[in-house]
């Protein structure tokens, strides 16, 4: 059984929570087992907002607090230090390089820099930056299909924000196109799957 862990980090308001939930939902739709635990304090915006997600191709034997993660989804450098020590050597680290300029001090890390905030702004929807990152994350790892991310996003965006669905979908596609496809595959059988 292969199990994959993703640590999400960012600042409240950037979309980290919805991105983590979208990845969990996309994986569930693809038949994976999932365990997601968010972690945030008493801030609506501006504070630490993290999440830990474990995905598996069978019943999980997962701990809700992850200390040796396969990958990181880094929306912002502000709370990077809360994630870095919990990454395994060789971790896949996808960073929003618009808001991240630190050294990734993880042994043998495979780093993919996506200027997600700048790209989303150029696309006319700065609020879609987290979905752009998620599109890139899905494409580079194949942890879920890009189309599954779009499907999960459609389910998660509430009806009163329906107007953002098209922009989010464009952002997911743009993110996916900005990285080398399957440069760091998540699953042994991923090439067959996609």
């Amino acid at each position: 059984m292969t199990q994959r862990e993703v640590l999400f980090t960012g600042v409240g308001g950037q979309g980290v929570q919805i991105a983590s939930k979208a990845l969990a939902m996309a994986a569930l739709a693809e038949g994976r087992d999932v365990l997601l635990l968010p972690s945030y304090g008493g801030f609506m915006r501006g504070g630490k907002t993290n999440a830990g997600l474990t995905l598996g191709d069978g019943p999980l034997r997962a701990l809700p607090v992850i200390t040796s993660a396969w990958s990181a989804f880094v929306m912002d450098q502000a709370f990077w230090e809360t994630v870095r020590p919990n990454l395994a050597a060789g971790a896949v680290v996808v960073v929003n390089s618009s808001l991240f300029s630190l050294e990734v001090e993880v042994p043998r890390a495979q780093v993919f820099a996506v200027p997600a905030s700048d790209m989303a702004t150029a696309l006319g929807s700065p609020m879609s930056a987290a979905f752009l990152m998620l599109g890139a994350f899905a494409a580079v790892t194949g942890v879920v299909g890009v189309e599954s991310v779009v499907g999960a996003m459609r389910q998660l965006v509430p009806a009163y924000r329906e107007q953002h669905v098209a922009a989010n979908a464009r952002a997911i596609e743009a993110g996916a196109a900005s990285v080398p496809t399957l440069a760091a595959p998540a699953w042994p059988d991923v090439a067959v799957r996609s």
Partner: protein, 362 residues
Amino acid sequence: MTTRLMQGSEAVAEAALAAGCRFFSGYPMTPFTELLENMGRKLPGAGGVCMNAASEIEAVNMTIGAAATGARVATGSCGQGLALMQEGIAELALNELPAVIFNMARGQQDYFQATRGGGWGDYRTITLAPRDVPEAVEHTQLLFYLADRYRTPVVLYGDYVIAHSTVGIDVQPIEFPATAPKDWALDGSMSGTGRARQIWTWALGKPNTPGPGPNGSWELIAEKYDQIGRAEARHEAYRTDDADVVLVSFGTTSVFVDSVVDELREDGVRVGSFRPITLWPFPGDALEQATRGCAHVLVYELNAGQLVDDVRMHAADRSVIRSIGGVSQDPSGMRQGDLLNADILRHRVRDALGLTPQGATS
């Protein structure tokens, strides 16, 4: 079967509905808030009522009233709010009213509160401590059954991890044996007959139908809790058969403990784990059996030492018991802190056993 992505709070709410819960009241307090929100969303559609009370004291007293009508009812909070509810929980017990009380605790510091109670009088609360969301779904339904079966308040000891973990889950109703008809319920059916029912602490009764009186009522209630103590203790013993070392923990901490047991077994350490599933009644006989002949009994709980009291009462050899947990609160104050961590736990176990650090050569 439809598996949906659900937060633990929503899954527990679905389980409560599946068990027939039709009244819920509470006052928001993280990490209990999401359970209240989910009950508020779901209960009206199921023909039930959810009240956002003005305080925890109001919430528990609403629950007493709703329980007296014979409906399946629940309330909850985290430990702080449950502190306010203790008088009401005692009244539920002494009026013999069934109710489920959800403690979505901010950590593991409410073990005494759950197992010793803070109300008045000779009563206990059956307390189940699930290790994860699927078990919380099962325990929620079991608790509604046990509450009715024994006419007593019962407690689910959850926490932030259970309330906020999101998993794919399909909540299905669980079948339990039928419970006795609620011929005590204040449902208005006896009005005007001269034999109208009454629920009153100590079952004091009325001049023409006197109850057992204070002493008789205490004796009946004591006998009931005695019976529960003998019949309802539940536990899980994991790899304890040949264990030289037994780790004891409860609730979500046990997930981390079992994981460390597997790792240490690979290193050749003969270690197992024991967890009370019911914090009360405590599975003392099972612990005695699981720890017989052990050289070490190590208690990992994230508080200053509460479960360890029960372990001292029941382990086969008191002299080998040691606490290796401790106070551990997150900076937000709403969840367990740094000790909810497999690496730290593994180090503490190895230290306690005098093993060389991993990777070091001796």
